[in-house]
């Protein structure tokens, strides 16, 4: 289907891309109402939506969502701050690279979710183990991408900067700017990891947050609520990724279209 190139047309084209999700929702509703699947196993879509609005109404879902998001933001911010610094230092100073690179290589195959029981054991059931888990888990993609981005900067670009009188600091700034696309890619991966790790931790050992909400309502048999929470989690993860992509495109507006 083609839409007119006006802003309205573009918005419509954008929405049209998501029609398959609407189709999926309709199919969901149909197979339950139609009796193909029992509603005790799969509550109808309409019921889940209604439940979502009820929870939004009494604020429950926002409370849990806020708790989860707060943990993600803090953990991610720390991971980006440390990770970018570490990646840049590794690319510039050889001893730092020699020390950190094998350690990171070792961290890579370890499933970070495996740290959940240990962190819970050591730090309890509150915020800190979850934030620490997100920090550790998101560190790797950020450092790796930053490091590779900084190292992969075109040599001729650096030579040009030196030729044009750049100081050591100036050269560092040039390298940072040239590596920025990769740094942002690493951060974007980190966003996805953060959601995954947080939900894992809250599901397994949570006392609050969206993961806990899913687990507890599942355990209690309040399935419409459970489904509503799951959908919210998926939507939040998606929205966060989109938002990040939007910011990325603004920051990198100079790129070739």
């Amino acid at each position: 289907m083609s839409f007119p190139p006006s802003p309205v047309g573009r918005a419509m084209a954008h929405l049209f891309d998501y029609v398959p999700l609407a189709i999926l929702a309709l199919a969901w509703e149909a197979i339950v109402r139609g009796g193909l699947v029992s509603p005790s196993v799969l509550p109808p879509f309409s019921e889940v939506v209604a439940e979502f609005f009820r929870l939004a109404g009494n604020g429950v879902i926002f409370v849990h969502a806020a708790i989860s998001l707060r943990r993600i933001v803090i953990g991610l911010a720390l991971a980006v701050a440390f990770g970018v610094t570490a990646g840049l230092l590794m690319s510039a100073i050889r001893p730092v690279r020699l020390v950190l690179q094998p350690l990171l290589g070792l961290l890579y195959p370890l499933p970070k979710s495996a740290l959940v029981p240990l962190l819970m054991l050591l730090l309890g059931l509150g915020d800190s183990p979850k934030i620490l888990l997100i920090f550790i888990g998101c560190l790797l993609p950020v450092v790796t991408n930053t490091f590779n981005g900084a190292r992969g900067v075109d040599e001729k670009l650096m030579w040009s900067a030196a030729n044009l009188g750049a100081s050591r600091l100036g050269l560092f700034v040039i390298r940072f700017n040239a590596a920025l696309p990769d740094i942002l890619t690493g951060a974007r991966t980190g966003v996805a990891f953060a959601f995954i790790l947080l939900i894992n931790a809250e599901l397994i050992f949570g006392q609050d947050g969206l993961g806990y909400l899913i687990a507890s309502t599942g355990g209690l048999g309040a399935y419409p609520t459970m489904f509503a929470a799951v959908i919210l989690v998926v939507m939040l993860g998606f929205a966060a990724d989109r938002l990040f992509g939007f910011i990325e495109n603004r920051m990198l507006a100079w790129r070739a279209p």
């Binding site: 195959p109 495996a114 989690v233």
Partner: protein, 279 residues
């Protein structure tokens, strides 16, 4: 490749440095760097626990953890856990590949399939899939099947996405040459599109396999019972730090083995590709 580039690739020692050939080869391999890192880490761990400044509850000594590992090995517990986890992880991986690769190919080459599945994949991709575990438990009950479905669900997005990316950009000259040589549509698919997309597909598989392992272990932690994750959950419930550490080591080692395995498979499958020559 200049000497500088070589030293960057090897990471630890410049391959062009002097010294006996054998030492240079050993030093130049990534595996060596990892072994060295492990050794250093073990050394630091041992030193810390010897120092006694850290509560042995928080950080058990390497000896104690080693003993636990040995005990698990001897009792057969280790083998049972690893095989339970690996079974679910690899079964889920296989299902994800069987569904994901054709799905990705369809998405790339068929406009309707592409339109229909695109938002599903793009919404699903960044979503934390473990959130669906309670749903799968509801549908399939506690046991291996719900785990396998969970793992397959988590991995299929990655596989389909990578396959679609690889199959979408087959170079036109390649396609046109095949067409002019009279290739049928099926032949085109299997002899041109799939091989051309293979590096990207394998990228997806290489990312998906560790994800399958992580998801399995995480699912086991939620449900309990068999497997590495289940053992770690039980250990943490009893405040049994050494066994939790043991589980961590096992997880890491299993992850390493899988990563190496799929890396090796990639090298074998892509021996004809240009990337095999860059070494």
């Amino acid at each position: 490749m200049t000497a500088g580039e070589r030293s960057i690739r090897t990471g630890l020692f410049p391959a062009s440095a002097g010294g006996p050939w054998l030492i240079r080869r050993f030093a130049a391999s990534e595996g060596a760097a990892q072994l060295l890192a492990i050794a250093v880490l073990l050394g630091i761990w041992w030193a810390f626990s010897r120092w006694g400044g850290i509560n042995p509850f928080l950080l058990p000594s390497p000896e104690v953890v080693g003993q636990r590992l040995l005990r698990q090995f001897n009792s057969g517990e280790l083998a049972a856990n690893i095989s339970a986890t690996m079974y679910a992880a690899i079964a889920g991986f296989a299902i994800a590949v069987i569904i994901g690769v054709p799905l990705g190919l369809a998405m790339a080459r068929n406009r309707i399939a592409g339109w229909f599945f695109a938002p599903i994949v793009s919404v699903g991709f960044p979503a934390p899939k473990l959130a669906f575990l309670p749903i799968f438990l509801l549908w399939f009950d506690v046991g291996a099947s719900s785990k396998i479905v969970m793992v397959a669900f988590a991995a299929v997005f990655i596989v389909a996405s990578a396959t679609a990316a690889g199959a979408a950009y087959v170079p036109r000259p390649l396609l046109w040459s095949a067409q002019s040589l009279g290739a049928s549509r099926t032949a085109m698919l299997w002899q041109v599109i799939v091989p051309s997309a293979l590096p990207q597909i394998l990228n997806g598989l290489q990312i998906a396999l560790p994800v399958c392992l992580i998801t399995t272990i995480a699912a086991e932690m939620y449900v309990g019972g068999a497997g590495i994750g289940g053992a770690m959950l039980a250990a943490s419930r009893f405040a049994n730090t050494p066994d939790v550490f043991a589980g961590l080591i096992i997880s890491g080692a299993t992850g390493l083995v899988l990563v190496r395995l799929i890396g090796w498979i990639r090298v074998k499958l892509l021996h004809w590709h240009a990337e095999a020559r860059v070494k």
